[in-house]
Symmetry: C2
Subunit: 152 residues, 2 copies
Amino acid sequence: MESADQLGLSVAFQEAQDGYKEGGIPIGAALVRVRDGMADVLASGRNLRLQKSSATLHGETSALENAGRLPVEVYRECTMYTTLSMCSGAILLYKIPRVVIGENANFKGEEELLRSRGVDVLVVDDEACKTLMARFIKEKPQEWYEDIGEMY
Amino acid sequence: MESADQLGLSVAFQEAQDGYKEGGIPIGAALVRVRDGMADVLASGRNLRLQKSSATLHGETSALENAGRLPVEVYRECTMYTTLSMCSGAILLYKIPRVVIGENANFKGEEELLRSRGVDVLVVDDEACKTLMARFIKEKPQEWYEDIGEMY
């Protein structure tokens, strides 16, 4: 992994860990702008379903929300880092060109849809991300199934 | 239109109008559960980009957020009403089976993606929805382009 990717994914993982400590679903994300080889973390966020009874603040939406309103051209220089493969509407809306995903072993999101629209998708298969998520799913399966819209 | 659709779309349009009065982007939505012929408005919401500097509270996400956490089976009995064709990640995530869209003349969202995943999509071509949205776009083109992720 490149150093910008290591930075982005580590910020996302920190959010996931913080979420876990709060009793939440441990999915984190970071929105990072890369220009001239410099990586700038614009915002990060984590799934807040359990903490805020939120049905829309997942990892990546939480990061986008925390970033606030940005000029559309900024999104086009960004990479979205998420600890887990998730859904992708906002990424397509804002035309974010690159997504780095910690793991997709615990859940496989809309990676193929993203690729079919020209988004550069990298799945890192990160052990720490996988282990933390698997632990949560084992501990709170009902909340996890709610998060992915499946019956438990 | 059936009476449940008239109810759902009128609630969505009221949200759009309220948003316009606040100086916001006039897109509204309503999440309606239909069982045994009875329509129950679970929640409604409107685009809050300008009011709350929010990059994620569009029409349909705002309605989903206001609905709070719902059991996954509830979403599967719902129709999402929106005044304008928008993006669709959350609708797919929660497997909402039906979407009624006020108009898609001012913007065409991910209708084909929704249909390809089995969602029943009805576009109503509603004059009131079209007129309100066109008026806003004319008045605040920059904010509108920001909302659809395009350069102005």
